[in-house]
């Protein structure tokens, strides 16, 4: 097996045992990136020099016999809405095309402390708004399994890079499915932790009550490793939870007896591609064979999740994105301006792409005088109904299993002119964000077209340890996560 094909845990072990140097790992990785990046286009920026420098540092630590971190020598990619000091952070938007943050996000600081090697910033839908990566202002990332297909969104760059072995792991952000959906479409493991588990400090805000940083990895053990590093309380994010972080890494292989899995009817109904449905049913059989009890249940308000989400997410986005005014940072129009309102309006007209404009407009519409009660307040109430559905369900079960997405990855261009159809591709991932619970997508099969299918496991608040274990159990029984697309 080539070193780039190994999991993060395995490559770390080899580096620590001095079977390979971190520098060799990085150099081999960049050779591969040089060959495949023109095809996949997962990255917005790469930092080979910085990566080699850091690798040498770690090799030196190891040869000196110094202590090294949990991610010693592991190359990691970051979604380009996560701030990196001295490295451009564009959000795939023209408005931040040349923005270089003066500080590191909490998660970036953490992975650096644990000796990870940051290799570059990955593509996304502009400001993480989209389900296909087609809303990037710079280029479209392609699905490594079929380059005519989208990799999913918004974190398509991170997901494609992990699947194409162009990084060992990546961080993303998940507001309505932006980690889990691309992981399902690209066939890797995407984990969105509980809201508050990971600090959002330095994550460019889209919808602050929904945004959560998540992990994109080759397998479940790698997810546990990366989640271990980035979880925990941070005083710079007042919504980050001051709750102890369990040991995900050591707990992952412990077996739970009497596992009760909820199977929500609403996630297997109209709109579900039959091939996806049958792969998920097969996965449930595997759990059953391993002693789990399957519990049929109903989440009656989940059919309203997408509608609720598009009110709340756009409302919060319209407020969060008001900061892009061309004054303190970011794009400024070259045209001369007579007054400040015209200046703002021109900066934003030039700097934002259509989807971002559409969401800001819609968000301001639902918040505007006369409409607030009918839309935003209504949605906030329905959000509570959806929360109650899950609360009731989790009284009966330990976790919930359903498909991550209703379909396989779709073709580039297929949904771009119909925003509503695009939004509906997140129908199964959105509820977890509204409720704030953790979710993980793991590969559970392939469609006839050879495209990956994702199995979604949802857990109780702060019960990441459980869903990782449940995911690991499935991974131990199957080899879908080991399948590689033919990129040679």
């Amino acid at each position: 097996m080539l070193s780039r094909e190994l999991s993060a845990n395995k490559i770390k072990e080899k580096i620590i045992k001095r079977e390979i140097t971190a520098q060799e790992v990085v150099e081999e990785l960049f050779e591969w990136i040089d060959i495949k990046e023109p095809l996949i286009k997962a990255y917005l920026c790469l930092d080979k020099d910085g990566a080699v420098l850091k690798a040498k540092e770690i090799d030196k630590k190891l040869s000196n016999g110094d202590k090294v971190g949990l991610l010693a020598g592991v190359p990691v990619a970051l979604k380009d809405n996560i701030c990196t000091a001295g490295m451009k952070t564009t959000c795939a938007s023209k408005i931040l095309e040349n923005f270089i943050p003066p500080y590191d996000a909490f998660v970036v600081k953490r992975i650096k402390e644990e000796d990870a090697i940051i290799i570059g910033k990955t593509n996304l839908d502009e400001f993480a708004m989209g389900s296909s990566n087609e809303n990037s202002a710079f280029h479209i990332t392609r699905n490594p399994w079929d380059t005519d297909c989208i990799p999913g969104g918004s974190g398509g760059g991170s997901a494609a890079a992990v699947t194409a072995d162009m990084t060992f792991m990546a961080l993303g952000s998940d507001t309505g499915g932006s980690v889990r959906q691309p992981s399902a479409f690209c066939g890797n493991v995407g984990c969105k932790p509980t809201y508050g588990r990971v600090s959002r400090y330095g994550l460019v805000a889209f919808a602050s009550s929904l945004d959560q940083i998540g992990t994109v990895t080759k397998d479940v053990s790698d997810a546990a490793l990366l989640l271990q590093v980035v979880s925990g309380h941070d005083g710079f994010d007042s919504t980050s939870a001051a709750i102890d972080v369990p040991n995900y890494i050591s707990d992952i292989d412990s077996v739970d007896d009497n596992l009760r899995i909820g199977v929500p009817r609403e996630f297997f109904g109209e709109g579900l591609n039959p091939e996806v449905g049958s792969a998920v049913m097969d996965a449930l059989e595997i759990y059953k064979r391993n002693g789990a009890e399957l519990v049929d249940l109903s989440l009656p308000h989940c059919g309203y999740a997408v509608a609720t989400y598009y009110i709340i997410a756009t409302a919060e986005a319209s407020s969060n994105l008001a900061r892009y005014d061309g004054v303190r940072y970011g794009h400024r129009s070259q045209l001369s301006e007579d007054n400040i309102i015209d200046m703002y309006s021109r900066v934003r007209a030039e700097g934002f792409g259509s989807e971002v404009k559409r969401r800001i407009l819609f968000g301001n519409y639902v918040l505007s005088a006369g409409f607030y009660e009918a839309y935003y307040l209504k949605a906030s109430k329905v959000r509570n109904l959806i929360r109650s559905d899950f609360e009731e369900a989790f009284k009966k079960v330990d976790c919930i299993i359903c498909p991550t997405c209703p379909t396989q990855a779709f073709k580039i261009g297929e949904k771009i002119t119909d925003p509503l159809q695009m939004y509906l591709s997140d129908i199964y991932t959105i509820p977890a964000n509204l409720v704030g619970i953790p979710g993980i997508s793991v590969p559970c099969g392939f469609t006839n077209a050879g495209l990956p299918i994702g199995l979604q496991i949802l857990g109780k608040h702060f019960d990441e340890g459980k869903i990782l274990k449940v995911a690991k159990l499935f991974e131990n029984e199957t080899d879908f996560h080991l399948k590689k697309p033919e990129l040679n």
Binding site: F99, P102, T194, Y195, G196, S209, S238, T239, A241, H301, Y304, A307, Y310, I311, S318, A322, D325, V327, R328, Y329, G330, H331, D338, N339, I340, D342, M343, Y344, S345, R346, R348, A349, F352, S354, K357, R358, I360, L361, F362, N364, Y365, S368, Y375, L377, K378, A379, S380, K381, V382, R383, N384, L385, R387, P419, L420, N433, L434, G436, I437, H461
Partner: protein, 95 residues
């Protein structure tokens, strides 16, 4: 309900985004379509339901009111597309 050109112009102003004629037409159509979809929330009776703003039960979070170091003025101004004499530069605001 429909979102027409007049409504689009109103919210574009609130949003501080200049739109082209073509954008106004497209957005009016698309937002009307999305609005039609979200009307389905009206199927639910929510009179007795409390609104939910956050996913966790966190209450106000306070920290000690202590002065901490931050970025220098110079570092922050370097990010600005237009600054002069230690200030951000914008078109004239006061007549």
């Amino acid at each position: 309900m429909d979102i027409g050109i007049k409504e689009i112009e109103h919210i574009a102003n609130l949003s501080r985004i200049t739109l082209t004629v073509e954008e106004k037409n497209t957005f009016a159509k698309q937002l009307t379509n999305i609005l039609g979809y979200i009307e389905k929330l009206n199927e639910l009776d929510t009179d007795e339901v409390q609104p939910m703003a956050y996913a966790t039960s966190l209450k106000n979070v306070f920290r000690e009111d202590k002065l901490k170091s931050s970025f220098s003025r110079q570092e922050i101004l370097e990010l600005s597309p237009s600054s002069t004499n230690g200030f951000f530069k914008v078109p004239k605001v006061i007549e």
